[in-house]
Subunit: 322 residues, 2 copies
């Protein structure tokens, strides 16, 4: 994988993000901006919620996966795509592959959430089960690549994926008519880096923020220490934010001065309930980190027009965190 | 109350509904239409969900209350408004009164859901508590009217309220570009009658449907028996649909040939979960009756463009019905 990743591992340019927007336009939804007087009052800010829970597949991940799939030449596409993910990226890649009529192989570790695995299967992916370790996931991915020639689409370290996620910021800025600040959750950093490049490219005066669970605060630690900290063992309810930040993704956070705010899971769950009861949106716990961060650091957001990315809405209704 | 009600108890005309739309435009939201390929596939129909859970106050009720409040002369308005409702209408009237800076008195029976009562209070209403009987509610309302001169705004038998609810159909038809059928829940019938008049007025070829819980099927029984059946004792989880249908509201269902489909609560709860997991919308159980009805009677909706009114999203997240 390393040779192939090296070839596609650079940060995308604003130009590549604009190309991605045009490429995914026939397939992705333009998700609405939602407003709430009650949440504005609570935060003291003017919040523009980008509802990616309403994106195809229920998460922003479709943007990056779709851009990757439609960036392939016909010859490459014919070989199919592969990734290892038991979450929203696996589902998004399966849906994106279906829009082009090509095969999607998804490597799924034993013990993954059954509902998510079933969704990936329903979306038409070919599942490959492996042991629940990073090594086993990568080994199985290599096996699939060798056997099928499928193109690897990494969840966040892939240039095409980062560019696709960045399209969300172009839309949000256009729809909101301009912002003072913008905040996304930070996991592997594909979203945060793509959004930072796009937002900074359109308007370099926008202040950029990330929200990270305290139990998976490797990005905050990495920024504080000036080098990537890979020793964090994630311990958080936010299943979408357990990945460690990628090298290039961290570069982007540094370059565009993304300030990472860490939040306790208990505060994230409280924020999630506010989003459900006031915005009437089903959003997953990872998505609520951003609103928890805004409530924690009202001083940073008061009086500002803030873009708030609600990343996804794929939850198990029978296993809510309250 | 009867003398005053008689004066405003007529069904609204299409003209009055159009006037209401202009009157509430500065205050009410134009709620989006939501689509879902998954729910279309499940139903075999093309479903256009009108997301009134995103309306001010979290329910369509704001439309009717707002129209009533802004229909008053300045002299009338100065006396304030009153209603008896422990649910969405009470909250909506309080919010609507606040837009005009006038007093809202809401008579609340003992034993009402605390969260809803607190919301009504937060919206700025003056609460008047009474025993949990219809007689006590009406007596207390009379007392408030006598003491304050406040104008009664009935939840569904008021012409101005029916006209306000009907504005939803004008919007839905414009946003969707035309429909073959339209379905709303049926409780007291304010929504169903307003929508029927508006939809029929714009396009008389639209087939109109109502959805009613089997445990509160007084409208279905009334239509079947050719006269209002007032003997039904409501027994349903759908707290928004326990009111018996009003006389004039029933007239409208008859005139516009609204076909009422009854649904079991278990099917409504299953439909509610599908709306949450696929549309990512927090909607209350009463709102899910319409989708349960579509799934029950696929034969009536297959292949059709159907407007589906999601009436509200005010739920207790700690007391979900599954």
């Amino acid at each position: 994988m390393s040779a192939q990743l090296a070839a596609v591992d650079a940060l995308p340019s604003l130009e590549q993000i604009r190309d991605a927007a045009a490429r995914i336009a026939p397939h992705a939804y333009v998700t609405p901006i939602l407003r709430s007087p009650a949440l504005d009052a609570l935060s003291g800010a003017q919040l523009h919620f980008k509802s990616e829970n309403l994106q195809r597949g229920g998460a922003f991940k479709f943007r990056g996966a779709c851009n990757a799939v439609w960036s392939l030449s016909d010859d490459e596409a014919a070989r199919g795509v592969v990734t290892h993910s038991s979450g929203n990226h696996g589902n998004a890649l399966a849906l994106a592959a279906a829009t082009r009529g090509i095969a999607a192989h998804v490597v799924v570790p034993e013990g993954a959430v059954r509902a998510k695995v079933e969704a990936i299967e329903r979306a038409g992916a070919i599942l490959h089960r492996c042991a629940p370790t990073q090594a086993a996931r990568e080994a199985m991915s290599h096996d699939v690549q060798r056997a099928t020639g499928a193109i690897m689409v990494h969840p966040y370290a892939d240039t095409r994926v980062m560019a696709g996620q960045g399209t969300l910021a172009l839309e949000l800025l256009r729809q909101s008519g301009g912002l003072d600040a913008l905040i996304t959750p930070v996991g592997g950093g594909g979203l945060a880096s793509g959004v930072a490049i796009a937002a900074h490219g359109v308007d370099s005066s926008i202040t950029l923020f990330g929200a990270e669970p305290q139990g998976a605060d490797d990005a905050a630690q990495s920024l504080a220490h000036g080098a990537r900290v890979a020793s964090v063992v994630p311990d958080t309810l936010c299943d979408g934010l357990r990945a460690l930040i990628g090298e290039r993704n961290l570069d982007a956070l540094r370059t565009y001065r993304v300030q990472v705010i860490t939040v306790a899971d208990a505060d994230t769950v409280a924020a999630m309930q506010l989003l459900w009861s006031e915005l009437k949106q089903v959003v997953e716990v990872s998505s609520a980190t951003v609103f928890a961060a805004i409530l924690k650091r009202r001083d940073l957001f008061a009086g500002k027009r803030v873009g708030v990315v609600l990343t996804g809405g794929n939850v198990d209704l029978h296993d809510l965190p309250w």
